[in-house]
Each structure stands twice: as C-alpha cells, then as structure tokens.
Symmetry: C2
Subunit: 350 residues, 2 copies
DNA sequence: CTGTTAGCGCGTTCAC
DNA sequence: GTGAACGCGCTAACAG
C-alpha cells in the first residue's frame, strides 16, 4: 500500500494534523517537531495525495495553459514563458504548482472539453492563448465556461486573445490589426500595389484582425482590394505552399505576398523558389510573429515581432496571482515591424 | 456553492449512488432513471469534482507528458502526437482523459519535480520524451521515481529516450547513433574530410549517441577525429551561430559542419552566410530531426528524419493502455537520411 | 505549539 | 435495479 500522512504521523510520533502543518508550512511548528516529521517523510518516501489534499482544501495546484497547437513555436514560446512564471514555489501550500499545457488542436470542442476537465480538477488558474474562434455559439459556450470558472475562484487569463467581457477574465491581446496595417504600409511604401494576402484559418479572431489591418492600409493608400488576391490557409508550411501557388496562378503579376504568419511565409518562399521566382527581387514576402527561425532563414523574413515571451510571462504572473491585472482587465501588447531581407522595392522591369 | 452529486441526486429523485453509476456507466441503470439523472445534470450544469472522484477511486484521468522545451518543435511534434492519442474518450469512467504537457526546461530538478507532482496527482500515465540527463545521481533518482510510479499502477513510457531498466517502464528510443553515422558517412562520401561537429548540450544521452555515431563513421573511414573540431552548444539558433563561428575561427579549412539538430543547423547556415561562405558550395551543413521548416529553408537541409509523430502516437497509445508494449519493453525507431540542398561535394578549389 | 474532531465529494461494497 | 453506509487521505476549525 502507498504510504499516507497517518503513517508519517505514526513514525514521527505526532498527530496527522501536525504533519499536515509541517508540509504546508502554514502554521507554526516547533523546529524539533518539524525535523522529526521531515525525517519521517524522507524515510518513508512519502508523497502527498494530491486529490485528497485538493478535496479537503477545495482547490488544487493545477494551472492549465490552453494552446491551439503545441507543435507551433508561436504557442510553444508563449507556453514556455507562461509556464516558467507559474511553475516553481508559490502553490497553495507554498509548494510547487503544476503548470500544464493542453493542446486543443484548434478544435472548439476540445477547447471546451479541456476547460471542463480543468474545471473538474478545480484548477487554480487557466490561461487561454491565441485566437478565439468566431462561431457565436462556441463563443457563448466559452464565455459561460469562463464565467463559471472565475466564479469558482479560478483565475482566467487570455494571452494573445481578445477579451471576453463579463467573465471576470483578464485579457492581454496582441495588436494584430495595427501590426498588419504597418506591414502592408511597409510594402506600399516600397511601391507594391499588387499584393497577395494569405489569411489564416477563417473564423478566427486573429485572422480577421490581421486582414482588417491589411485592408485598412490598402484603402488608406487608395489601392483597390481585389478579393481574388486574398485566400485562406491553415497555419502551416504546406498550406503556405499551396496558397502561394494558387495566388500566383490567379494573378502572376503579384509583386508581394503577405502571409498569415512566419511559418506560412516560409512555405510561400519555398513555393516561389520552386516556381522560379526570386525573393525579394521578383516577389516580396512578409510574415507575422517573428518566430525564432525567421531571423536565420535566407532571405531573413520581414515580419511583425509579437512580444510572445513577454506577454506570456505577464500572463503567467497574473495567473499565479503574483501580479495584479491591468485596469479594465485589458492590456494590449503591440507588435513591431521588423524589416529584413525578404521584402524589397518593386523592380520596374516588367 | 458549487453543485455536487448530491444536488443532482435530489433533483433527479434518486440516491447519490445512482447518479454516480449513471455518470460512470459501470453499472446497469434503468433507461428512464438514467434520463432523469442526465437531465438533472444538464439542468444544474453539474461538473464532477475531479479530486473527490480521484480520491475515492484511487486513480485519476491525468496523463503527463514531460518535454525539455515546449518551444522546440522537436518536442512539440512529439507532444502533439502523444496527446492526440491520449485525449478523447477512454478515461477511467469512459470519460475524457486530461493529457497534459509539462515543460522541464531541460532542468533535472524540474524533471523530478514534475514527476513528483504527477505522482502526487496519482496520474494514470506519464510519458517522458527526449534525451535523458547523464548525471548518474540524477539518473538514479529518476529511475527510483519511475519505479515508484509503476508500482502505483502509473504507466510509464519513454519516447525518444533510452530505456531505464528494472523500472517497469516501456521505451521507444530513437536510432540516434545509427542516424548520425549515416549522416557523416554521407559527407565522407561527398569527399569531406575536415568536418566540424556541433554537439548538443553535454551530459545528454542524445548528444552522446549522435557523437558516437559520427565518430564511428570517421574511424571506419580512417579519418582522424580532431577534438578541436567538436564543440558543444545548446539546441538553439543562437548557439548554432556562435558555435559555427568558433569552429571556423579555429579551423577555416573546414568543408562541412554537422549540427546537433536542424535548429542549430539553421543558425550555422546563417553564421556561414554572414561570414561570406556559401552553403553548400563552400561549406556543407547537415542537421538532424527533420523539423517542419527544414524542407522549406534555402538551401533545404540535409538531415536525418526521426519518426517523431509516429513514435509519439505509439507512445500515446501505450500510455493510454490501448496498445500493448513491445516485448522486452524496448523498441527502437530508426531515423532515415534525407539528402537535400545543404550538402554537396567538396569543391577542389582551394 | 499540538492533538481531536469533523467533514470535503465521490465510489463502492452490501443489502434490499 | 436501487438505496444506505462507509471510507478514500487530507485539511480546517476547535480546544487545550
């Protein structure tokens, strides 16, 4: 049988309550007693029973971090930063917290399932990252879940995700609209007028916001926005490949392509090269996010750097209760345009 | 107050026991009663109390996946595959399992901490991914933990990680030695003799195995292994950058560089370009792992493809108890050499 | 500072 | 097929 707190108490010749107190460090205990208890714990190799402890205390040390895709560095970088701030001492009993990443795969159902699972575990906090799905029904369901969670004292933080009003959650969204606008303005400034746009998956807030920024830039510059120049694609290299091909087949005169993110941009570059077009001489390509590899590829990607790690760290601290939430519960994190080799002036040779 | 099973029972006019039976579906219940209970559950928006349930049943639906670095696609791809097989129906009560990724940051202490945390939660299974640390003391501590876990009925699977004998764990290691050997043989076949080697972090099994494979290839070909041509670096782009510079400063006549993995290889390529060397004309560069971006970068990386997703999926199924473990508890997954543009024949121009 | 006494919410015998 | 009763292992008052 596994050893219980009572076993430790017996061995240390104290009451179970005292053992609990030593372990949780919440009440004063005589140094000598403490030593005796700790020795017994070590000797018996005792490990607290989490469920029992959580049941009695009506709260657990579990913190969930929801991401759309763990395999995507965009989420990996955020998750890592969040987790780094949450893990470590500081749990309920001054002990360790269990910060844990849940991969929804971009599925609304799995997102809700994970939320329920975390609610079931009486999680201490939940951090949701990345775009929200735009399906109204799903949004309502998520909002209801979040409300229920905050009502049960679970802290809810939205990192890189738009606020969900009236849920008691804190939001640290990214400035996607503005970043996207600057990106397209950069291309316009280089003389580009026929610009293809590869948007992310439909029905995602991030996709819409970036697209809105792009269009705002075009219309401000008086450039017509040909709908045929916008296609949607998943956030992966293969989708970027396919989309770039489709875009160029439809309009071979494009001089620039804006990709949903850096991963897609990389696929676009590869597709372009395969089609015999040089980047940036023939076609400029820009991405979004500024992932680690974006600086090293050739040509290095022009993109918008999002403060993934910084926002993650802040979200982590708020979730851990170590930092106070912003006023109004919302604080936008801006992206900054990073110009590198993948974008260049339009070449006048036609 | 949050609604409990008793509340549901009251509303459905049945005993708590019946509600429990309906929820867990383990005992026969009259269809009419079941409906009544389910309706009450829906009406009250009842969510099971995980800790209470885990306490009573002495086991939970939690499955932990340990990775060194969530921000690294190497782990992301594996974690995603593992999680996909574990999540979904099939938990203790036919319900959902909570598959969860834990980021150790490559720290031995955090690895042990997470193991303890999962043990404390009475996790149903634990999957450890990636290299093991070679510090004997830490290895012993991990082995002890794993033994304790399996004794407590927690399934333990090692994915892309060497076996730990006598712990009741199942291992699906990667063929790092053989893959590394083939990679270096490929370079030797192209005429390279002065080959730099950027190994991964010291004290990691993967680092050692790949290095051994490299050296085996060199010695089989009768090529002296100059120790000055091997340096260690972390698994990130910046480290690759720095290491490449150091290597070339020490010996500018190198015609090829083997990198610890693709991420590092990318950093090496960037450093080479920055130093005015062309890849592969002046210097060939090869990586390891075949991450998603490796195919799209220019030049595309010659590397060893590891079956990250396949091994992860198998590990996930074993952890979920849906597939039987291999005989002997060990099953190696081989890597395959993928030759692309970043490696080429030695140019005789000196 | 420490022991005693009650539950926390649920799963599970055992009867009916 | 269903209910009653007990206990999982721990924390939280309450005494002392």
């Amino acid at each position: 049988m596994t050893v219980t707190l009572a076993d430790v108490a017996a061995r240390a010749q104290v009451s179970p309550a005292t053992v609990s107190r030593v372990l949780n460090g919440n009440y004063p205990v005589a140094a000598a007693t403490r030593d005796r208890v700790l020795r017994a714990v070590a000797e018996l190799d005792y490990v607290v029973n989490g469920p029992a402890s959580a049941l009695a205390a009506a709260t657990s040390d579990l913190v969930g971090i929801l991401v759309h895709d763990v395999a995507d560095p965009f989420f990996g970088v955020m998750a890592s930063a969040i987790q780094a701030e949450i893990g470590g001492p500081g749990g309920r009993a001054g002990g360790e917290r269990l910060a844990v990443v849940c991969n929804t795969g971009g599925s609304p159902e799995r997102e809700l399932t994970y939320l329920t699972l975390l609610q079931r575990q009486r999680a201490a906090a939940v951090v949701l990252t990345g775009a929200a799905m735009e399906d109204p029904e799903h949004q309502a369901a998520v909002a209801a879940k979040l409300r229920r969670l905050t009502e049960a004292e679970t802290r809810v933080v939205l990192c890189g995700r738009p606020p969900v009003p009236d849920t008691g959650s804190v939001a640290l969204p990214f400035g996607n609209r503005r970043g996207a606008r600057e990106l397209t303005e950069h291309l316009l400034g280089l003389g580009h007028r026929r610009i293809g746009y590869i948007a992310g998956p439909a029905e995602r807030t991030t996709t819409r916001h970036r697209l809105e920024g792009h269009r705002a830039a075009l219309s401000a510059a008086g450039v017509a926005d040909d709908p045929a120049r916008t296609v949607h694609a998943a956030y992966d290299r293969r989708a970027g490949h396919t989309a770039a091909r489709a875009l160029l087949d439809a309009d071979p005169s494009l001089t620039a392509v804006v990709a949903a993110n850096d991963t897609v941009a990389l696929g676009v570059c590869a597709a372009l090269r395969a089609a015999g077009r040089r980047v940036p001489e023939d076609v400029s390509v820009v991405g979004f996010d500024d992932l680690p590899f974006s600086e090293d590829v050739a040509p290095a990607l022009t993109t918008v750097r999002l403060p993934l790690a910084e926002a993650g760290a802040r979200a982590g601290r708020i979730a851990a209760g170590r930092e106070t939430a912003p006023e109004e519960g919302v604080e936008e994190a801006a992206g900054v345009l990073v110009v590198r080799g993948s974008s260049g002036p339009v070449t006048t040779t036609r």
